[in-house]
Amino acid sequence: MSQAKPARKYVPKPEGLNLEFHLACLEAGTLCIQRCADCGLFRHPQRWYCPSCHSRNYDFAPVAGSGHIYSMAVNHFTIDRGWADELPYITAVVELDEGPRVVGSLRDVSPGEASLGQPVRVSVEPRGAEFAYLWVDTV
């Protein structure tokens, strides 16, 4: 009897600015968001230029991860075998207090319990040495 290999969840191999984001999060142990070093504007996903003042200077600033559910994908079907056992699962779009929105996994909440505007907190968990997985928890 051959056994089907358990499908694993996809973990990207980040590069460039995106790798810098993940390494900053992993080193700080908390969510870090790219910030313009000249005008202070937070931005996500990572971009080379500040879209407001066009500076190329930036850093990755640790943030508390506090925010609210701005939107979500409530998934009852998936083409990704790595996620089939999780159904139904909720992928949350979190608007951080600093402004940018991040996408992460809302845990311990069932469909129907989650609502837009709900306060949440985003935390990071290492997936290998170069990827910071984002968890979303209600507060």
Partner: protein
Amino acid sequence: MDISGAAAIVGVAETDYMRGTELSVPELVLEATMAAIADAGLNPSEIDGILPPPGFISSEEIAANLGADDIRYAVTVHMGGASPVAALQSATMAIAAGIATNVVITVGWNGYSAMRPRPDARPTKRRMEAGPFVDVSRNFYAPYGVRSAVQWYSMYIQRYVELYGVEPTDAAQVALTCREHAHLNDKALMGGRPMTMDDYLASPLITEPMRKFDCCLETDCAAAVVLTSPERAKDLPHAPVLWLGGAEGHPYPADEITNRPDMLKLGLDSAAPRAFAMAGVQPADMDFLQIYDCFTYVVMMELEAIGMCPKGGAKDFVADGNISLEGRYPMNTHGGLLSQGHAWGLNHVVEATRQLRHDAGDAQVRGAELGVVTGYGDLGDGSMAVLARG
């Protein structure tokens, strides 16, 4: 330079809409292309402009099959399902500027078979080119189990239904109307397969609020259209269909959904007013609507974006019988992507052309003189064309 009316659609064709075929995508694309050129009354070697699909087959390879040895304009539009209607604008620009005279736009794909290869099928390296947003999708959405169109779009549709109180029974009107119209179309995959509201409501949830019957059909197919100058069109067999105006629009940022200042603003919101202004007509002047219908809720957002109704008004617009064949604005008279088949919306251009030729059979909108076609793709890119009987 005013390009309104500077080009006409003179040839259209589509393959069968199939779920499984032994034909490769290049064969499907070439079949549709040859048929559209024949419909235009042209010799394939007269083609001097090609806008191929993003992937599967190049303009160079198409030209080599056509014997078209003097290609003057070849460009690929990377807007997913918004590509074909945006390509109408690009083709018209090339014709108006005198760059090319006889331009073919074609798309095709193995939307069904790519996911379900036959056991005996030889592997192929020909595939769709990844969209411009693939980097963001791969890095920010896929790690969290979000990797298909229905999941991406649900991130704004969730907000749309909450903001305007849109119910599944509202979106159902779009699905049921497309299904009704499919029964009038010989090539529609869902022709002769009725759908009731109970059927719709019993279909399984995919990503909230979308159910299976809110989603378009995975299809193997191809389509093609040929444009030329209005002067050249006079010598060709069919009544020309004039491109009166059009536009493309891109949400900001176009490569990422979640950080848009207004997540409900689609590319079509900025494209539609420009397209109507160029055409010199109003939404209320339209005799029919061919709306890109990858998902029912996206259709509702598009109807608002093109100004058929105010923001949040689509649920009333589709419930009031406007969009049926007997309604004021018959919509997707071929069955659409939801019930005819999915040719990236180029099938909407084919159907609009047949309507304006008064050659749409049982689905003919009586006296059709003006119609709108929309495109929608990638992460909310939009395109639009106003077409007129010449």
